[in-house]
């Protein structure tokens, strides 16, 4: 009964390709997030959605396009992949977009660009 699940877990692809990462949560939360963790383990917010509405877009290149078909899903599509996109991408969810509720994270998608 995985709470926040991401697919795929590993993604190896060539520069210039387009790829998608999917995220689903079964916690009934209304807010979902995408974070990027670089090679130095530094974790940084990319996007957040509340009830399918974009709340945060943290100066991410527009090659990255999140899509939330419903509040249980938040997918991330990346166009024209670049070497610098290699990282671990984490999806998270919480109830409400405030500081009172913890965020629950998926296991991450390890993206490697060749």
């Amino acid at each position: 009964d995985t709470a926040v699940s991401q697919t795929p877990k590993y993604l190896v692809t060539q520069m210039g390709n387009d790829k998608s990462i999917k995220c689903e949560q079964n916690l009934g939360h209304d807010t979902m997030y995408w974070y990027k963790q670089d090679s130095k383990k530094f974790l940084k917010i990319m996007f957040s959605y509340n009830n399918k509405e974009l709340i945060i877009n943290e100066t991410v290149p527009n090659r990255f396009s999140p899509k939330s078909p419903d509040k249980a899903h938040l997918n991330l599509h990346i166009n024209s992949l670049e070497l610098g996109d290699s990282a671990v991408y984490f999806c998270a969810s919480s109830q409400g977009g405030n500081s009172n509720q913890p965020q629950h994270f998926g296991d991450g998608t390890r993206l490697s660009i060749l």
Partner: protein
């Protein structure tokens, strides 16, 4: 912008020893979260602190938030190999910013049997 600084960046301890990890914020914290990450896995939520002076414990892990709400510490008593991993502190930089968390750079803990 608000930043979180963790210390130490890495730590190697002998099993059974106590240890402390610190997280210092450049501004007042509205909520401070501690997470643990094991290699190849996601972040596991440990504890959340909100009030100045607050202290919470879970099994052998205790977290505190100072009165000024700018520093938190995570203390592990009688460490075990299962405690090994990367510990991350996260904070909401200011109230109602869409819930985004900013994170410290992490503390990598190794526990030698």
């Amino acid at each position: 912008s608000q930043e979180l600084e963790q210390s130490p960046q890495s730590l190697i301890v002998q099993e059974g020893k106590n240890l402390t990890i610190n997280c210092t914020s450049s501004k007042t914290l509205y909520g401070l979260y501690w997470y643990k990450q094991k290699y190849g896995e996601g972040l596991i939520f440990l504890m959340m602190l909100q009030k100045g002076g607050e202290e919470k414990s879970h099994e052998k892990i205790t977290a505190k938030l100072d009165e000024k709400k700018q520093q938190s510490s995570l203390h592990i008593t009688a460490s075990q190999p299962s405690h090994a991993g990367i510990y991350l502190c996260g904070a909401v930089p200011s109230y109602n910013q869409g819930g985004k968390l900013i994170f410290g750079q992490g503390t990598e803990l190794s526990v030698k049997p």
